[in-house]
Symmetry: C2
Subunit: 188 residues, 2 copies
């Protein structure tokens, strides 16, 4: 123990820790993609990840917290805030990107499983940074000297229908439809 | 066997069957309310309901199908289609009732669990008859000789924000906000 320098002691567990995290996240995503949502227990996840269940319990505490962690890393930072020069252009691009993301069956399965098991925390993880991205788009428009709709109104008009249609229905999230959401929010 | 009249043979298993169904539904609702979402397996549900696991497997097949069944009976037929005389009045009442229902923690826990485990089928069960009720409101307004918004537009403007806010955020579903959804859909 005495031979470990601070750098070593910091980097070794960090490296192992990152590998364990990646293996466990991958195991969760694989199990969800396989449609094994019902069997999503810590022992099942640990076996798939090739780690000891205690490691998973100690690090995440529960399947709910683990799913929220997976969803957070999946849904944060994966959408670049568009900068097309106009509010309409930015919102159309944002809605299009989000629709494409939510239409992916694996993403959708992860969202549903995370909401189901992760409760409030899981739901917040599924929103990820999308609310903040919308806020950034609106603030940029304000900085251009315009008067964009409020964040609440924009959330209700764009974010909500996208999530509702993806999660609760089997209607397709077509580009025409996502454009129509923006057109309704911003009439000519 | 020969002594059973058709009425008896139909009513006896029907009576027992209905009792089993009620006990299993109640067990699911209790376990979800207890926050035992992660432990929602057929053996756990059967024990709580006081029935044999085989009975549950035989009747519902999986936790997902069982949850969809519970959600269907919970979300269908519990909201009376309002008839206030105007489209605005009907939609305000409809949105208010739905908001009140979704704000109930037990209902919300059931919605989240059903989406998480029940997949597509569970999600459809959580919509229940709400889409049809909205359709009925719009058709009645058309019958009055008016030109109401389309069902798609009304779903995006009212149903989607209500479900999104309830399921994905911790913002309250206030009466002012539900009224504002209708006001946005139907400007003066």
């Amino acid at each position: 123990m005495a031979s470990l320098t601070p750098t070593q002691s910091a980097s070794r567990p960090g490296g192992r820790s990152a590998r364990v995290r990646a293996a466990v996240h991958r195991a969760v995503e694989e199990l969800i993609t396989d449609g094994a949502g019902e069997l999503l227990t810590i022992p099942v996840i640990a076996t798939r990840a090739g780690v000891h269940p205690t490691t998973v319990y100690r690090r995440w505490g529960s399947v709910g917290e683990l799913l929220a962690d997976v969803a957070t890393s999946r849904f944060s930072g994966d959408i670049v805030v568009p900068d097309t020069g106009t509010l309409r252009g930015d919102l159309e691009r944002y809605a299009f990107d989000l629709a494409k993301d939510l239409a992916d069956p694996d993403t959708l399965a992860l969202v549903r499983a995370t909401i189901g098991i992760g409760g409030e925390q899981g739901a917040a993880a599924c929103r990820g940074e999308r609310q903040q991205q919308l806020e950034a788009i609106l603030e940029r428009d304000q900085a251009r000297g315009n008067h964009p709709p409020t964040l609440e109104r924009t959330t209700d008009a764009i974010l909500a229908p996208l999530y509702y249609r993806a999660v609760f229905t089997d209607y397709p999230l077509t580009p025409e439809w996502t454009r129509s959401l923006v057109a309704t929010l911003l009439p000519d």
